[in-house]
């Protein structure tokens, strides 16, 4: 899975019927050492109700279809977790709503 920050939403009214009713979020991949964006963006389907600026990770490829929300749909990137904490060698580099 890859870490990313939710930086926006993507709205599409004319789309493949199979992806009706699914929320698209705009993610920027992040470097956990600095928690800064890497300038690499993607559209991911949301299966956990992630909000703006939250740190998440998403699953890619066929595994992205293994959630109830995305099963049998053309989804290749699905957010499966909202991250509460990240530590590197025991040091907290990210804590939701704090650092």
């Amino acid at each position: 899975m890859i870490l990313g920050r939710v930086i926006g939403t993507v709205v599409s009214t004319r789309k493949e019927p199979k992806i009706e009713g699914i929320k698209f979020l705009l993610l920027e991949k992040i470097n956990p050492e600095t928690m800064k964006g890497k300038g690499d963006y993607l559209v991911a389907m949301d299966s956990v109700g992630a909000g703006l600026d939250e740190i998440v990770f998403y699953v890619a490829g066929s595994s992205a279809r293994m959630t109830a929300t995305t099963e049998g749909r053309p989804a290749d990137a699905t957010i499966t977790a909202i991250v509460d904490e990240i530590d590197i060698s025991g040091k907290l580099v990210y804590q939701k709503d704090r650092i």
């Binding site: 899975m1 490829g61 293994m66 509460d84």
Partner: protein, 101 residues
């Protein structure tokens, strides 16, 4: 499969992978000598790997071919902890000697 070194942990309470009892580890990819590369992957730990250990990661749908991850939304698992790597007859990585972190 690729080499990576366990860098730390990623904690999430609000998640949708229906997997209980295992940890997500933050790993940094590395080469066969254990030299770090600049890519981080969150992987499900199946073998109890510790921070600093060099591990083998399986990605993509193959990561779902285990008891715990079958049909689950997972695309990276730690499949093994590396003890030794030998390249062209020379040992290029050994776990005990590597414990410098």
């Amino acid at each position: 499969m690729i080499f990576a070194r366990v860098a730390g942990t990623v904690v999430s309470t609000k998640k949708n992978d229906s997997i209980i009892g295992t940890k997500y580890l933050l790993t940094r990819t590395c080469d066969q000598n254990g030299k770090p590369k600049n890519d981080y992957i969150v992987a499900l730990d199946l073998v109890g790997a510790g921070t600093g250990e060099v591990v083998i990661i399986a990605q993509g749908s193959s990561s779902r071919q285990t008891e715990l991850t079958y049909q689950k939304p997972i695309d990276a698992v730690i499949a093994g902890i590396v003890d030794l790597v030998e390249e062209k007859g020379k040992i290029v990585f050994r776990k005990q000697a590597d414990e410098h972190f």
